[in-house]
Point group: C2
Chain length 189, copies 2
């Protein structure tokens, strides 16, 4: 029996990604988001949504760039902090000990200590209501070499990204491998 829970932004899983950008003075900021996902394969693009009130909003509009930084489970406290504090009155990098590295390909910093980062060029903004959606073209994906597995691809059990449960306010990490995509379903066909 299904229970109706109402009109809520409640679905599992949502990601934990830290958006990094430069402000007008060239200072890096880091803002954690859970509202986002890959949105297009060609050009490869990812969407994240921010409220206008967030300090990163103008940064991304002005610089037409952002990075997405994927924390590992051990860095969840830093990621949570970057979703609570505002760049208006806190230097989140010095406060947490993370390092801003200037991207060579987009006008935004990335977080050195996080295992997986995407450098994005702003392609589009869509006004949706409370949130504005930023669509970024993924110009490059960089992963710590010791997080790569077979065939040189990132190993999710080494990276250990976090998940967010909306409404429940819980973070979880990734669990066991359960199957190969575009493959295990073939048994049914």
């Amino acid at each position: 029996m299904k229970k109706s829970l109402g009109a809520k932004t409640l679905i599992f899983p949502t990601p934990v990604w830290v958006v990094a950008s430069y402000d007008k003075k060239g200072r890096p900021n880091a803002a954690t988001v859970a509202w986002g996902g890959i949105c297009n394969s060609r050009p490869p693009s990812v969407a994240v949504s921010l409220r206008k009130s967030r300090y990163s909003y103008d940064n991304i509009i002005d610089r037409k760039a952002f990075t997405l930084n994927v924390p590992c489970a051990k860095q969840i406290k830093i990621a949570d902090y970057c979703g609570i504090a505002s760049g208006k009155n806190a230097d989140k990098f010095s406060k947490t000990g993370i390092t801003a590295v200037k991207s060579a390909i987009v006008d935004a910093p990335y977080i050195q200590e996080f295992p997986m980062i995407l450098e994005c060029r702003l392609l589009n903004t869509f006004e949706l209501g409370a949130h504005t959606q930023f669509v970024g073209e993924i110009m490059d994906v960089k992963v710590d070499e010791n997080m790569l597995g077979k065939e040189g691809l990132p190993d999710i059990l080494k990276i250990r990204p976090a998940l967010f449960c909306p409404e429940v306010f819980a973070y979880h990490e990734v669990g066991d491998y359960i199957g190969r995509a575009f493959s295990i379903g073939k048994e049914i066909t």
Copy 2:
């Protein structure tokens, strides 16, 4: 040391959600997507991206509605199949034994056997390139009663949703609880 992997739709995690819709003849279809995420809090909205070639594309445009159905890890084979087969030449419901339930609030079916479902009214479509992004207003979230935990909220370790690793083509399930959101970061402030 970070290694550059190129301009790819590669980030962790992405979800495994099954989009359900009705075709012109009123037959239900189910299409698995990993390109999507919550995109707005007010109105509560979720975005999923589909290629024009997918059978669900016209269904959603015509009916202005879809549901998102979250499979549990045990249903991953069904979800994978719904990403491989096309509704053009397969009745995925009879083939997999899942049941289409007509939503009472949007013109789309949901999947009875899946533990968490969202009923969405199409708000917007954005042409992004290879994919079209469908923004749906979440009209209701329904969860199996036996998947609810404390405070009547869905328990992610009961629902056991799946994650998808792009490029790696691996599915994983959710792992351990690692902290409370908007809370554990306060130690830093």
